[in-house]
Each structure stands twice: as C-alpha cells, then as structure tokens.
Symmetry: C2
DNA sequence: CCATGTGAACAAATTCACAGCA
DNA sequence: TGCTGTGAATTTGTTCACATGG
C-alpha cells in the first residue's frame, strides 16, 4: 500500500538500463559488465549494480551480466511482458498527441479509448482510438479494462475527473494537468508538468549566463 | 558552468509555489504564511521556508509573506518576466501538439518555429507556427532568436540534432526523444521520457496489487 | 507574540572500496 | 584474475525545533 519500496529514481533508471540492454542485444552482444554499460551510456557502474541488487543477484562475478537474461528479467520486473491498456482523458492538443504517441510498438502499452466533453469530438476517432463522452467514463473504464488513465484536461476539472477515475477502478494515473491532485493512496499517480520543466530551464539558462 | 547551485527539486517546487501564489492573488489574498500555503496545497511549511531562504529574505517574521511581492520575485527569479522563444524540432504527433501547447497565455514562453524533415510539412503551419526544413536549422535559430529547443524526434537522429542545436547557439534543450544524450556542459538540458513514466506506473501498479 | 529563517538532526541517495566468488 | 554484490563513507535532501526580529 505504500507506493512500493523501490524509489522512482531507481525505477526510472531500470527503464533506462533496459533500453540500453535492448540496444546491445540487437547488436548481438551476449554479455555486458556494469562498467561497459556505464561507459557506453553515461551511467554510473556502482549505481547499476546497486539498483539491480535490490531485486536479487542478476550477474556472474568476474564476468558480468547475460544481456538476454537481464533484459528478460527487467522486462518482467517492470511488467512489460504484458499489455497495459490506456485511457486518454481530454482529447485536446496534448491528449490527442498522446493518444497516438503512447501506443508503443512492443505492445506493452496500448491506448484503447479517449474521453472528451466536446460534442463535436464524441464519436470521432484519433487514429484508431474512439472518443467517448464524459458520462461514459466509468462505463468505458469497465468495458475496455483500461488500467492507466492519462489526464490531459485543464486544471480546474482535474481533481473531479481524477476522483471519478479512481471510483471507476482505474489502477494508475499519469497526470499532465497543471494541478496538484489530492491523490488516492491505492492508485499510483505521477505528475508530468511540462510548464514546470520549461520554467526550470528558464532559470538554469539565466544562471548559466552569469560568471 | 555547473548546472547552477540550485537543485532541480527546489526549482520545481518554486514553480509550484508560484502557481499557488497566483491562485491566492486572484482570490485577493494579501498575505500568506508558509503554514497556510502548506496546508492549502499539500506542501511542507519548513520546506517552503528553506527553499525561499536560498534566495534571500522574502518574508516578514511574525507575519508571513506578501503575496503580491513574493509572486513578483519568484516570477523574476524564474525568468518569467520576459518571453522565452521556443523552437520545436520534429513536427510529428508529439512535436505538433507541443507546438500548440507550449505557448502559454502569460507570454513567458512562445513557440516561434518548428523544424521537420518531411517535405510535405515544410512550408506548412501548425497553428501560427511555421515549419522549416532541417537545412535551415541553424539559420532559424539565429533569425528567430529562439532560446529553448524542444526535441521531439526519433531516438537515432537525436544526438546529431542536439549537437547542431548547440552549435547554432541554442540556450537550453527539453528532450522528449527516448535517447540518452551526451550533453553540452554549457547548455541546460532536461530529459522528459514519457515511456519511462508509464513504465514506472506499470511497476507500481503491480506492486500495489500485492499484499 | 508569532511566523520567519536557520543550525542541527535525520533520512535518502550516491559513491567508494573491497571482500568474495566464478 | 576480474567483476559482482555490499557494507561503510559521503553527499544530498528533508524535517525538526528554536532563537531571532518585526
């Protein structure tokens, strides 16, 4: 019930390692050491080992890691060996783009439906993703079996919609709305605030310009 | 030359505080204490004070902070009192959406141009943002005075384009490409990897499902 | 008084350095 | 021998608690 014992930082690095490993595998490389991974992808060797060690012993001392096997284990660990269904809420610019963008080819994630309150849009498609009305929210979650909701709505309605998604049984939420949500403890929720990223760069740019 | 003395964590919270303060100001509130801010927006009072203290004394002991004045000072601190021009690189689904999405109404950020290598798109517009060809990259940066590049291209060409942007004199980069860039020390660069966010939720969902 | 600003305590994350095993 | 896995050291970030000053 706590948000899992593993930190976001570690988890995000695991995703990174996995991506690197896929590259190595596609090059036909059989084995890799933490040092080689670190050097090729600008990571830290000690940290790779620490991160992996949290989940058991993956490597062979004196040799390194088996690329195929480690790839496989990380895949399973991150739940990428099965398909997660995604519901987009808010089919504006960003929501529509995400509807097309988040169906990755490896089939770990697939967008199955979108919700919007614009009568013009309801019944239309974004690529092969159908758009439903707000009334159908709970129904769509249940019918499609969507697990992850991607919130791309204006800040004001965000909390209300979040609560309805939780009530409808959604399993996780990725929130692009620039609003601080009161989160449900049982539903992993991650905020992605694009404006904040820009503002960070804004500051760092100015700071970089000084002596 | 280091990426400024202030951590990303702090900087991102400042953005958050600023957003909350704007809300209070719009409600007509004159003063606010760190405690009130914390309670209303689910933040930590001590952390607000620590964060602000890094930049000088903003408040009045025994009283709190002047909403208007603090808003103003944070605005200036984050460089939001002037307009930052943005260049979108890669006008696919995500790039086009960002072209529309990242011009915020307060005029702190404005998208001025996009680059794409699809001959069909070159010369077209995304809203009021013109699309140019890859050859024109350096030229567009110089002509428009764009400071921030938003990279929304496939992983393979990302590094090459990044290097060209840096050479062209870009001041900061927000990278949406799922690629780990060799970053230029003088150019603040922030990675936003949407797939990694989904994978994190994927793991936490499974973890939340266990006892 | 009362809320800020801050040093000191605590917690988390990263890096170091080496023991231990293939 | 050489690289993993891991405690110990260090750095970074957060919380606590109180002296300070409007």
């Amino acid at each position: 019930m706590p948000t899992s014992g593993i930190s976001s930082l570690t988890l995000n690095r695991l995703s990174l390692y996995l991506r690197c490993l896929r590259g190595l595998r596609d090059e036909g490389q059989k084995r890799v050491s933490s040092l080689e991974l670190a050097e090729r992808f600008h990571l830290s060797a000690a940290q790779i080992r620490k991160d992996l060690a949290q989940f058991g012993e993956f490597g062979i001392r004196g040799v390194g890691y088996d690329v195929e096997q480690l790839t496989e284990r990380l895949n399973r660990l991150l739940g990428l060996d099965r398909t997660h269904l995604i519901l987009i809420v808010g089919a504006g610019n960003l929501g529509s783009a995400l509807a097309r963008f988040l169906s990755f080819d490896d089939r770990s994630f697939k967008v199955v439906a979108a919700i919007d309150n614009d009568p013009e849009k309801i019944g239309q498609m974004i690529g092969d993703v159908p758009i439903f009305g707000p009334d159908e929210l709970g129904d769509v979650v249940r019918r499609t079996g969507a697990e992850i909701a991607v919130l791309a709505v204006p800040p004001d309605p965000a909390q209300g919609i979040y609560d309805r998604l939780v009530a409808a049984g959604i399993k996780a939420v990725l929130n692009f709305a620039p609003a601080r949500l009161a989160r449900d403890a049982g539903v992993p929720t991650k905020a992605v605030d694009l404006r904040i990223f820009l503002e960070e760069l804004g500051y760092q740019m100015e700071a970089a310009a000084l002596p």
